[in-house]
């Protein structure tokens, strides 16, 4: 009876270890923050790309409309790949695109916009990356969907693709 109980304990323990390790092998070992949590947009003041004047977040997100915040840089190759999709999205009247230019050379950023087009209704400058941290980003490109209540309702890490574009269209409908 006693040995049966010990065997049962050992089997349970080994099964538990097996499940933990099996789950560990299958899960990605690269952590990425949750992308579906609703969060308030941060309060900030940032330099406007065109006018070089400081603007605050209340002014940027003043309209009762969906906003897409896209963090980009001219040196970021995936940003070039997603740019045509952002151009397509900018044709929609239901949404405004705000660009956050991340740790970039302003002349190069301007050349990038001149070459590939400007999908953004406003571009703000994030010289030191702290504004991106306020949004909860940790790299470029990252895209945030902000609803009419000024909440971040969706976050896309990495370049957007056709599927993501369709998802965004569904959200802003």
């Amino acid at each position: 009876m006693k040995s049966k109980f010990s065997l049962l304990v050992i089997i349970i323990f080994l099964s538990f270890c097996f499940v933990i390790f099996y789950k560990g092998i299958n899960d990605s070992n690269i952590y990425s923050p949750k992308i579906t949590d609703k969060k308030d947009i941060p309060n900030f003041e940032a330099k406007d790309f065109d006018s070089s004047k400081y603007v605050n977040s209340e002014k940027i997100f003043k309209d009762d409309i969906f906003y897409i915040v896209n963090i980009w840089a001219s040196w970021c190759v995936p940003c070039r790949n997603e740019h045509p999709l952002l151009m397509r999205l900018s044709n929609s009247q239901l949404v405004k695109l705000i660009g956050v230019n991340y740790k970039d050379n302003l002349n190069k950023a301007e050349n990038f916009i001149n070459e590939f087009g400007n999908p953004y209704s406003q571009i703000i400058i994030d010289n030191d990356g702290t504004l991106s941290v306020e949004f909860g980003a940790y790299g470029v490109p990252e895209t945030f969907v902000i609803d009419k209540n000024k909440k971040i309702i969706r976050k896309f890490i990495g370049p957007i693709n056709n599927d993501i574009l369709e998802e965004i269209k569904l959200i802003i409908k």
Partner: protein, 122 residues
Amino acid sequence: MKILKISMIILLCSGFFHSKSNEKNDQLKSKILKNIRCLICQGQSVYDSESDFASSIKLIVDRKINEGLKEELIYQFLREKYGDWIIYDPKLKKNTYILWLLPLLLFLLGGAIMYKKITVKK
């Protein structure tokens, strides 16, 4: 002359206290940065990492300390942005019960088994 001496002393004292408070802030900053995980080079703390993300976090932490935010509030800010994982020292809560209690349970179980074996031998 007296006024000059007094003002010199005040100047020296204020410089001393200023450097002391800077030193304190630097210590707090190092402590916090060593307890934050870099999300780009995972496995390294923000303190050790040279990534773009880490340099931005260093600036943010520095700014928050200068704004007078307490250590716990800075962790809370980072948790809100990136989740619990960003902190090396997770809090005891629903999601981390197993993490905190399992070693204790295993320790108690092992202790109980050893105790039983010893008492049976006696």
